[in-house]
Amino acid sequence: VSVRRKGPKATAIRVLTYAVLLAVGVIVMFPFVVAVSTSLKRNSDIFTYPPSLVPRTERTVTDADRGFENATVYNLAGRDGAYALVDDDVPIGEFRRVDGTGDVIAVAPDLATETDATVVVDGDDETVYLLAIDGEEVEVYRQRLTVGGLFEPIDGGEPVVELVNNATADKTLGPRFENFGQVISEKNVGRSLTNTMLVTIGVVVGQIVTSVLGGYAFARIDFRGRDKLFLIYLGSVMIPFVVLIIPLFQLMLQLGWTDNLVALIIPFTFTAYGTFLMRQFFLGIPKELEEAALIDGAGRFKILWRVMVPLARPAIATLATFGFLYAWNSFFWPLVIINSGNPDNGVLPLTLATLGGRSSTDTNLVFAGAVLAMAPPILVFLFAQRYFVENSASSGLK
């Protein structure tokens, strides 16, 4: 408020103000950043701790001279340097020192030389092996024979065998853009996307037509009972949709419209709010413009089309934006009316809800779908902000 003041105190307040705004901005944007990052991740990369915003990929290396191609790079526990995994199915022996000291030693089984001696471990006789560790022969026994990976040091040197558990992949930045293509083609999001477009276009066009005609009648044609009728229209805004859900479902059942996209379009092409919006706008257009045309003998419809509609473009844009957001995001009614077992009639929110539901797998694909669903309304909002912000504010506060 006190922005025009000068001096160190005012500067401090200003800095603090921006800090608060920025902090809230971060809280608002952070979930979206997480969404975009998750949509670009590999599934194995999502359930790691600590969580990370960077979509990572495993680094690979190719060295034709040493005979490996696109080998994944690993860091090995207890060893320096990076290693390329050249074979992930080599036999490994897990040895322990006979005296019980030290950790498990995992090496290729043939490195240990079998002896005739035995040692008793946990009541079992175990054969004693000799194993060279740091140039020193050590008596060991074999705990387990398993398989592991053969790792070549990238910078050259002796290859080592190591349990895969002791190896962590060396990850670098690597977004996986295929998630989007995959979710569109495999998870039926493509079909839902076109369905949602169809529904949205239908609802928006229908709402504009009925609202322009109705708004014009309420604003400019002075017939008996008009104002009472308009009050009923206004009152209808108060009725929550929950009350209509059951009878509308029954109506759709009677019409044979269940599990059909038409049930998402036709009932929503009539909007009291849109009619109200258009009426308010038409009221603001000077009557002289219309009267001149009326005297010229033009019909009502021609006046509406030629004079009023071009003037009402901002109001129509507002209405279109609202209709778009409503139709694109609506979930409850599709959930009721579209059979979730039939993916062909799904719309995006519905498909996403099924996809990202309680038994969901492929979290990266779910998020790719979520990003695809959220991007259009956000973009429309950013482009149509002028209409949108002004009218959200004025819709109720007139």
Binding site: P31, T48, V242, Q250, T275, N329, F331, G356, R358, Q385
Partner: protein
């Protein structure tokens, strides 16, 4: 208030009352009237048949009520048709209006019926398939149309430029090529053959004929010379024009809003299950079932249903005045959902409103970059609740979710933050599940409320702030003494609308609650989820309708409070 306007009499088709058309010049063919009378007599006959059929009693849904509605409808159409026929014969002034309304309605109903029989409506749904098959041509059409629009915009700013016309035609051509490609790729041959099948059925042809006759009748009566002959007044003509413009809206409103609303009210008085056959009128039993509570004192703390009336289940245990009480309800789930939604309201509404009040005060101060912040804050409310809920589900994840991670990190840095138990499961523990919903709701709604508040800020007189600045008042004092009181009306409106939204909480819970919607253990059960389960899982439509009306009554309380306040203050409810 609503404006009235005077029409220029000469502008509308009908001549003012009392001015007869010059005889002989525009004499309407009397055979036309004879046909009109015949048309209405046939209509009246059809209405009688309908009345008799309805009286026989249907075997369909809600026989009693439906048949009453049908009979009233038939009676009304009989009266209208008969009056129209009689009035046309006598050239009565009102007859033209009634005849036009009746014929137009018959035309609309018959046309819709024809389209329905042809499967035109369900074909809209099938269009989804075509769209997915022929998406690229669809894009071409869209680009072509946008091209035309853009060219049109340029044309208005630079009129008379021939290049624009060419550009515009190119856009149309592009759209046309895309359209042809769309038809070819989407391959509608199956749909066309089905259409031909249906169009040759007698009932379709019959309805089509009725529609054509009704259209002819409407057009005939609409004629100017007919209007003149009936001496239609300007006021009557206004009613006709007004209703004609309003009709698409009004008919849809009646069919998809008013009718269903009435039906819902009727159904709420029925025991109406879709699975069973019984559909009996039960009066207010559904409402009694939903709202019944029983409080009973109990001898011991472990008392259960045995101290309650039959059919009641334990809702809560209370210890008041050294006495143990057991509260029981017949529909425990619904009462739990009411308890949850009250808790939700108390927590979520302040979270969605208070930050908005503070932030809007900062944003209103015209600092640089405020529009950017405003836009950013608004994004969550437009992004779509399902996507948002999915993101938050991941954030709340117990082992690798960001929320637990950040709290843990904060616990490492700050001494007073107690790190949660290892991997606290926000969504699957009853104590925090509802809180998680509160956070998501608050996060989604505060930006929208901020914009509402910004509108309120515009109405605060700037002089108030200037005076305060001269007095050297501190920022906090200005906020408390000027901003908050001046925004009282806005605050009230924002509180009410947010509460109404919160009462209908559904989507967030549907996605986030686990293991089933409303879980765990009904901890996030909301009234709308309870209603959904009753209506579409248990197929208890009558009872669910009653729940809907109970919920509506609660919501209406809030709306009514807003309305009363509007009526009391100078701002009106919207009719400006």
């Amino acid at each position: 208030m609503l404006t009235t306007e005077t029409e220029t009499p000469s502008s509308d088709p009908p001549a003012p009352a009392g001015r007869r058309a010059a005889r002989g010049d525009h004499r309407v063919d009397p055979r036309g009237y004879a046909l009109m009378i015949a048309w209405h007599l046939v209509g009246a006959g059809a209405a009688v048949v309908m009345f008799l059929l309805a009286s026989r009693g249907g075997d369909d849904e809600l026989p009693g009520t439906m048949s009453i509605f049908l009979r009233i409808f038939a009676l009304a159409s009989f009266v209208a048709h008969a009056y129209a026929a009689f009035g046309i014969a006598k050239r009565q002034r009102g007859a033209r209006v009634v005849s036009l309304v009746v014929s137009y309605l018959v035309f609309v109903v018959a046309t819709v019926a024809v389209l329905h029989q042809l499967g035109a409506f369900t074909a809209i749904g099938k269009l989804g398939e075509g769209l997915s098959k022929a998406f690229v041509p669809f894009l071409v059409v869209a680009i072509g149309l946008i091209w035309v629009l853009v060219a049109g915009q340029i044309a208005t700013s630079r009129p008379g430029s021939p290049a624009i016309g060419v550009l515009r035609r190119a856009g149309w051509a592009l759209a046309a090529i895309g359209g042809i490609a769309f038809v070819v790729v989407s391959d509608p041959s199956g749909m066309l053959s089905a259409l031909v099948d249906r169009v040759t059925q007698p009932i379709t042809i019959g309805t089509l004929l009725i529609a054509a006759a009704a259209l002819a009748a409407t057009l005939f009566m609409w004629r100017r010379d007919v209007a003149r002959e009936f001496e239609t007044t300007a006021a009557q003509q206004q009613v006709l024009t007004g209703l004609a413009f309003l009709s698409p809206n009004l008919l849809g409103f009646l069919f998809f809003f008013a009718g269903p609303l009435l039906f819902s009210l009727v159904v709420s008085f029925y025991d109406w299950k879709t699975t069973g056959t019984g559909r009996s009128f039960v009066g207010i039993d559904n409402y009694v079932e939903a709202l019944s509570l029983d409080v009973s004192s109990a001898p011991a703390a472990n008392a259960g249903v045995e101290v309650l009336k039959p059919n009641y289940q334990v809702l809560a245990h209370l210890d008041w005045f050294g006495q143990h009480w057991v509260v029981g309800a017949r529909d425990v789930t619904f009462w739990l959902s009411l308890r949850n939604i009250v808790i939700f309201l108390v927590l979520a509404v302040p979270l969605a409103v208070l930050p908005a009040l503070v932030l809007s005060s900062i944003l209103a101060s015209q600092l640089r970059g405020m529009k950017v912040f405003r836009a950013v804050y608004f994004i969550p409310s437009v992004a779509g609740v399902i996507g948002v809920a999915i993101i938050w589900g991941q954030l709340f994840q117990s082992t690798v979710g960001w929320i637990n991670y950040l709290i843990r990190r904060a616990g490492e840095i700050l001494p007073f933050v107690e790190p949660p138990a290892e991997g606290h499961a926000w969504l699957s523990s009853s104590s925090t599940a509802l809180l998680a919903m509160v956070i998501v709701f608050g996060w989604m709604s505060f930006g929208f409320n901020t914009v509402l508040y910004l509108a309120g800020h515009q109405s605060i007189p700037k002089e108030l702030y200037e005076a305060a600045e001269i007095d050297g008042a501190r920022t906090w004092r200005i906020f408390r003494r000027i901003t908050v009181p001046q925004l009282r009306n806005t605050t009230f409106y924002v509180l009410i609308t947010t509460s109404i939204l919160a009462l209908q909480l559904f989507d967030i819970v549907w996605i986030l609650s686990t293991p089933q919607p409303g879980g765990p253990d009904n901890a996030t059960m909301t009234p709308v989820i309870a209603l959904y389960n009753e209506a579409f899982k248990d197929n208890n439509r009558g009872y669910a309708s009653a729940l809907a009306w109970v919920l509506f009554a609660i919501i209406f309380g809030f709306t009514f409070a807003q309305f009363r306040r509007d009526a009391g203050s100078s701002t009106s409810a919207g009719v400006s």
